[in-house]
Symmetry: C2
Subunit: 771 residues, 2 copies
């Protein structure tokens, strides 16, 4: 199926039948099992570890503690490395922690022949701590009396970035006739909840360490493991099989450096670490909770004149992706409504605390930013008495906009059309009126939100990718990517791209889904919705080279200039007229086995991408709010996206449905909560309210296809995007339905009921009954 067609996923059959191989399927049966001994405090220092009783448990092979592990700090973020020190990720992790910063930090590791022995022994390891008061709240961590968590960051501020565009809020509004709207918005700590738990096994051959892992970033992980162990990159090999979801959590080095080190502790025997669901919730990465304070000056016609923002991001115990996420949120606040007159200033802080470390999670700061800003825009519309849709149309990013800090330009936009499609779908104009003056316990409303999202990480970071194609004897070809399938359907669209560009029937293209860093072309991996764009560029270039090499061989074989030939549908044809000259299968057989002129036809290309482009979208939701019980029912909801040209409408829609589902959870139920000791209260699927299929309404996906001039196939970012706007659209619909502005996610029953009581929609008696 060529580009633009809904080709079936290339991995569908294997994933449905169970034939697809995941990390754990590949683990040798005799691999040693690891149980990690985790800290029982969230902030403190390990004084001693006593393993004397634990080592006596039969089956235990070795126990290593934080006092055995090298104290070489390493970074964990899935970013391309930088040769410039200033741009390198913060190295603040250790293989095992002597300084404990998160409840559950790894203090020791028990390696045993089986799970049971490992678990039994782990319970017998005795750890003595020196404890400091735990910090869960950003504002608490900023207080002068708070313990400094990292010596290099006194005051616990990992970073503070300042953006100033224009003359500044006060100077801009001075003397102008404008309304100033202020608001404060909070997003919660949430977890990715990928199906497959973090799992990894490692073994040694000679002086090399081999790691098989469920990761989004095999090539980056190779470098991180080498840094963590202090060995050259070439002595590490990473293999990435199919993975059962990542959503950014696996865009980080999780258990891999430890697995790699542990195999060196047992003579190179295979060592397997799999986290439990509870460990994954509590001790891997989370989406940063961010507190936003926004202030916007609006002219009477609705034009935004100036905006000021403050952001405080709860980083948790370690840097991971560092300040990048909070900074991305800050620049997103500017990019969405960058009217030329707008003055924009922001201060963004990432602050260390003792909760789980914030890292990448689907859309990298923008779900937080969009929640704050899109709530704020509806608050402005309410104050101004304007239609929120019209207000957005006036102020949103237009074609030709260039972001001042990054130089990223708006090369194409279908945003307004997205809004129009959403308006029609939801019946916006009618329902905005219809639901205006409701009474009673059940009230309906419609809300919307928009977003813009970049494509890849240029120019903040390196964008590079490569690909390889290999011809087989039957005229079929393998595509070997460094880019990774992580469930998003990358492999399928890569086959479509390669087939289309090379002129080979898509059914004859097979993608090698497992990345082995020894042989897979280099690519930084699956994040930033970059792969169809950046890796797509590399693949397009590769497919062009591949086709050129095939035609060069055809030229020799047929005795005609290559320029007269073309490859279409797996056949060499006359460029003018299209007459079929030779099936590719015959050419391939000849190229392999000719006694006169044999050649192994392959192609490999790398690209350094120096561009970026904005994708857009809008969500429209209609909700019914049950005021007394604080419940929101989604009646209808749609994400309409401008992701440029859609390579595969069916799998794109699948991505949208998944993203919307995540955002529904973000809107209505999910929040990882901590007690005063920074211990997670609900780190499991019983207590953490992830929506199930029964909680999920019908999800609608719409696409406004633009043809982006920078995308290899006119395409722009798509994977993360749909997870951005539903939460604010739902909040705005609740505002429309009830007149109550909820500024803190999630909109769960307790929060709603409290809000309705404050707003007088629920009477005191009811409050007492609940209280």
């Amino acid at each position: 199926m060529s580009i633009g067609q809904s080709a079936a996923r290339v991995d569908a059959y294997d994933k449905v039948t169970g034939a697809a191989q995941y990390t754990d399927d590949m683990c040798p049966a005799n691999a040693l099992r690891v149980k990690l001994v985790r800290s029982t405090i969230a902030n403190g220092k390990v004084l001693s570890v006593d393993v004397s009783e634990a080592v006596r448990v039969p089956g235990v092979v070795k126990i290593v503690t934080c006092f055995d592990a090298p104290q070489r700090p390493f970074p964990t973020a899935g970013h391309p490395w930088s040769v410039e020190k200033a741009h390198q990720d913060i190295a603040d992790r250790y293989l095992l922690a002597r300084r404990v910063l998160v409840y559950g930090d790894e203090v020791a590791a028990v390696i045993a022949e089986d799970e049971v022995s490992a678990a039994r022994a782990a319970k017998l390891v005795k750890v003595e701590y020196e404890e400091y008061p735990p910090l869960t709240d950003v504002q608490d961590a900023l207080r002068p009396e708070a313990t400094t968590l990292h010596d290099e960051y006194p005051g616990n501020v990992l970073a503070h970035t300042v953006m100033r565009f224009g003359e500044g809020f006060d100077r801009t509004v001075q003397g102008r006739d404008c309304e100033v709207v202020e608001g404060e918005y909070w997003t919660p700590t949430v977890q990715h909840c990928h199906i497959e738990l973090p799992v990894s096994f490692a073994w040694m051959e000679k002086d090399r360490i081999h790691v098989v892992s469920s990761t989004q970033i095999p090539h980056i992980l190779r470098r991180i493991v080498s840094q963590a162990l202090g060995i050259p990159v070439g002595r590490v090999r990473i293999v990435k099989p199919y993975i059962g979801g990542g959503f950014g959590n696996k865009q980080d080095a999780l258990v891999e450096p430890l697995a790699a080190w542990l195999t060196t502790c047992v003579g190179g025997r295979a060592v397997r670490i799999e986290l439990t669901r509870e460990e994954t919730f509590c001790f891997t990465r989370v989406r940063h909770a961010i507190q936003f304070r926004l202030k916007t000056a609006v002219l009477s016609d609705g034009a935004f004149l100036a905006r000021k923002a403050e952001l405080w991001s709860n980083q948790g115990g370690y840097a991971s992706h560092g300040h990048a996420i909070c900074a991305n949120a800050a620049s997103g606040l500017r990019n969405m409504y960058p009217d030329r007159e707008l003055s924009y200033e922001s201060d963004a802080w990432s602050v260390y605390t003792n909760i789980a470390t914030g890292g990448a999670m689907r859309a990298y700061g923008i779900p937080q930013q969009a929640f704050a800003l899109e709530c704020h825009v509806d608050d402005i519309a309410l104050r101004m008495g304007m239609d929120p849709l019209e207000l957005r149309k006036i102020n949103c990013m237009k074609l030709g906009y260039t972001a001042a800090g990054t130089g990223i330009a708006c090369h194409s936009t279908g945003l307004v059309e997205c809004m129009e499609r959403g308006r029609d779908f939801i019946g916006w104009d009618g329902k905005r009126k219809l639901y205006r003056d409701q009474t009673g316990p059940l009230r309906r409303g419609v809300g919307m939100a928009i977003f813009c999202y970049k494509t890849g990480v240029y120019p903040i970071s390196l964008e590079t990718a490569s690909a390889r194609m290999v011809l087989n004897q039957d005229g079929s070809a393998q595509v070997v990517m460094g880019a990774t399938e992580i469930g998003q359907g990358a492999d399928t669209v890569f086959c479509q791209m390669a087939g289309q560009t090379a002129g080979i029937r898509p059914e004859d293209i097979r993608v090698v889904s497992t990345q082995d860093t020894d042989t897979a072309p280099f690519d930084t991996g699956a994040y930033a919705s970059r792969q169809t764009y950046v890796s797509g560029m590399a693949l397009k270039k590769t497919a062009e080279s591949f086709k050129a090499r095939i035609l060069a061989y055809a030229s020799r074989l047929l005795g005609r200039p290559a320029a007269e030939l073309d490859l279409i549908g797996s056949a060499v044809v006359e460029q003018s007229g299209g007459k079929t000259l030779l099936p590719l299968s015959e050419l391939a057989l000849e190229a392999f086995y000719s006694l006169k002129d044999s050649e192994h036809i392959t192609a490999e290309e790398s690209v350094h991408c120096k561009d970026n482009t904005f994708a857009f979208g809008a969500c429209f939701a209609e909700v019914e709010v049950d005021i007394p019980v604080g419940k929101v029912r989604i009646i209808r909801i749609i994400d309409v996206l401008d992701s440029g040209k859609i390579i595969n409408p069916a799998t794109a829609a699948g991505q949208v449905h998944g993203g919307m589902s995540m955002s529904l959870g973000y809107a209505l139920g999910e929040e990882l909560r901590y007690d005063a000791n920074a211990r997670p209260l609900n780190g499991n699927f019983l207590d953490y309210k992830l929506p199930t299929s029964l909680d999920t309404p019908d999800l609608y996906a719409g696409f406004v296809e633009t043809d982006d001039p920078t995308g290899p196939y006119g395409n722009k970012s798509l994977g993360e995007n749909p997870a951005i706007p539903p939460a604010p659209a739902i909040r705005n619909a609740v505002l429309h339905a009830t007149g109550v502005a909820f500024n803190r996610l999630p909109l769960n029953p307790q929060r709603l009921v409290e809000g309705f009581i404050s707003a007088g929609l629920i009477k005191e008696a009811r409050q007492e009954a609940i209280g």
Copy 2:
């Protein structure tokens, strides 16, 4: 270590410690087990198979019989495919046999959850046959009354080739004053006895079949499996891990097509087939027993005037490598002594019988040829009263010789020097005299033999290879070969070659030893001692491209023309003067991560080799024969080889030791024997007399290094060569010691005693005692 140095084997550590992964190490624990139901007759037809009782055995998943299997004949030989029908291998194998041609042919396959259930059920499968008289002997198979084994080959002659060079024996000798010497020589059926048994497992993903196997020829196997199953090549993937020896047996499709088909019978579940040692002996491949009838006319000065040869090769039940081996022996008879005056004519027959199928085994017909011819040459020397060494010097191939049939030229030769080195080592001149007139039960003798051996298969067949190199962030590089390490040390010399040509420290070169046909460059595999030569050419070309790409990047980075730069010892240096400009590790880091100019540096090249060259060697042996007990003790033995430039003297010597050991077994003990029903009599390590280390004398290896102009590094064939001359050298030493010419291998005690009785060296009484 660069070329010419004794670098340690790159796989030594892993093979010694057990870290190296072989096929069975990679087999999933839940793979289904297969037991093959084998025919209990050697010649006949399956009338019916009754599985009714067998399927009731608990644990049995499925039983398939020859009546279930597709009747699509396929070839099994590890030859490159030919696009010309006439050059394609004979397709006479079926996945399961209805027409039984070898005792033990696979008639049905039991697939079960475990070995025990499979074996129990296999015993309960009842097979009815129609039986025909079995044929074990070639001359019997040629009789008119013999059953025709393959309808396409009436009279059981697979092929008969005729060579005629010169005017013919009779015309040439007519009127010339010459001596005519005739002799008849027999070589036995022997088996490879590789340590690792044939093992393979297969599973399906989507519509593709994946096969992991202990094979020398992954890319060829991919094609064979596709032919056997009637599916496109692209739907088959072969993975070849480390293998525990092959020696040609694994240059054939053994269990792989069946494993591939069986997984399709159980819905794609993993299916594993491992043969037992007994199955391997009796039902895989063997070295052809060949009967030679030779006649040579010799002038009084010792010059060979004319030779006439007849060869009958026992092909066993199936074609496998077909007539190629016998034809190779026939052309070897000419090439070794191709004095310009020589008239040569030969008739060579490959004849189907009902014993195990003859296939490739180390040196492909030349051990047989060399035994016959080198015995014959000593017989001539004896008749002429000449020194066998001098006789060989007069007549052996000289520089500049071009073989008439193939056009293969003698580009370099150190043969005479090999003989001189052997003469010195063994003390030839003195001992030839010293041992002249011995009496008593213990007698000593010295003997010698020489050989020539081609390098690769050009122009008989396609010679093509390719390689890929991949730069890592630390300046190290992977070498990815299609060529296979099969224990011979290929990976080690590839690292030396790549390092030397690219200018990278050998310790920074890592070879990817596992070939995966999806990603490994195409190469036909390990056979014909071709890899250092043909694959070496591909690797050299690749390393040159790789270096050029590195220097091109260095040129951009340093702002200097690439022509002024060189890469030496993993550093970019000034070409003139050699000043170090940039370590490769720094360049690599920049190439990966530069925000200005990032590039993933790799290189891949394929070559079509259209050349071949002769390697040479000589073996000298001193033996002591215990006449009454018929025992030969090797006192000293040396192989002196001209294999061109030696890439790695230590591993080359290892190859020589191994080859000599195989030839000692060939000389003195090994023979796979059959009863009248064509059932193997000694197909196991108790009864088949493979020499152990205790049977093996000190083995000496010598090299006369020539610099072959066609070899990529001056090198020529080496792997198979040392296995050629020891057997005839020992026979000739026994002749020297005792005056008795043994013309049939092996020279085991029974044969020797019988010979000494015939020759009158042992008296009648003794004969009776033995009889």
